[in-house]
Amino acid sequence: MIDLAQERPLLVAEHLSKAYGTRRACRDVSLDIHEGEVLAIVGESGSGKTTLLQLLAGRLMPDAGHIFYEMRDGSRRDLHALSEAERRFLARTDWGYVHQDPAMGLRMGVSAGANIGERLMAVGARHYGRIRATAGDWLQRVEIEAARIEDLPSTYSGGMRQRLQIARNLVTKPRLIFMDEPTGGLDVSVQARLLDLLRGLVAELGLAVIIVTHDLAVARLLSHRMIVMRDGVVVETGLTDQVLDDPQDAYTQLLVASILPA
């Protein structure tokens, strides 16, 4: 178990707000996440989950609020005070972003090996043999046959594409991964396998993960802590088991009650 009191959080968000015109998608949200911790953001569609994730990942500028990140060198930096070059470097080395639709996160026109190798080449790897070997390793770690390394992602099934997208993100050994509904659109058995794989990788690599999902089962299986959002506001936060077993907020009670009994 992680001792949260011992270390400084990896990422701290303070009073984040974002509006699209007059529609306020995210209102005064504060949160933090520690190394090795999995945080789930749950809520129904339109509750501002994805907006919050994009704010945290630096893909959207907040109207108000700050995000601080503990860099690898131990310095604490305001994300929005970083230069664009620094932010983009951070995003492709120390972070990962797993899209719901793998086609958004993959290059569909180049082979699986090149997809995994891209981040390595972006940080200066110039030895084809070593890049390919690393890509092969990662394919196996996400349970894809190494023989398919030269195949295009378009020849992969939905579940394989999602696993390839995860491998492509993990190759630079990031510390923080953002995931937007990673199991969305997959059938139940494929979902289960993906969740199993994710849980293994997260534990093995000590990854911090911020995962957006509307599926409470996914949250229960993967996350240590969760945040429940409604209309852009955090209505409840706490340890996952606590929130799901004893929801305090009326909306959370409704969400939990609406899970179909297995």
Partner: protein
Amino acid sequence: MSAADLAYNFAYIDEQTKRMIRRAILKAIAIPGYQVPFASREMPMPYGWGTGGIQVTAAILGPQDVLKVIDQGADDTTNAVSIRKFFAKTAGVRTTTHTNEATIIQTRHRVPEQPLQDGQILVYQVPIPEPLRWLEPRETETRRMHALAEYGVMHVKLYEDIARHGHIATSYAYPVQVENRYVMDPSPTPKFDNPKMNDCAALQLFGAGREKRIYAVPPHTKVTSLDFDDHPFEPTRFDAPCALCGSRAGFLDEIITDDRGSRMFVCSDTDFCDTNRRAARA
């Protein structure tokens, strides 16, 4: 040589436009490999026939210049003949087919075999100036990638070549990096010519008319072809010498000689081939 046709300004383009193009050229020379946008004009020829190169040539051409125009290395192909006649008519400048006599050489997709000299200018006609276009279709994004020198995707392209073909199969428009900074498309010249662009004594100017971009490599500038440590850049090599002049030094074109599969390989640079043959006869 006949006097310039007075119905046109010298070298066809008006002086204000030439000034605008010269400013873009100066900026391009100051930032080697950087694509400078310019207000490309309609020219009396279709896009893809060298409208970019012709504007650059018109902007730098003076009455004392001697112009050579080549198309795939040859002086006698349609594109080369028509552009050469165009400037002979509108500027009245002397034209030549000899590489060493020319002060300005406009080229479509070849660098002459004979080493270029100080004071010469090589003008390339460029169809697609953006080397990142293959992997990133958004212009806003490619500009940002150039600004931040994020060139990892260029190696993704080369990686994919090796994965599919076992070696880097890109044989023309082979991407280069200029002075360790900007990645540049050398226009669709064969990669055979890439080493000639490095530390070249002549000024190299690139004009893309449809895409409205000018870029440049100043004399004696470092031009490196991208590659992998374990798959280094290799210029194209030919098994046989030129069937006409016997040289092994030039880039060869395949010529089909009948409909039963006979063919011959001859120098693509016609001036180089002629010079060799004349030297052999003498």
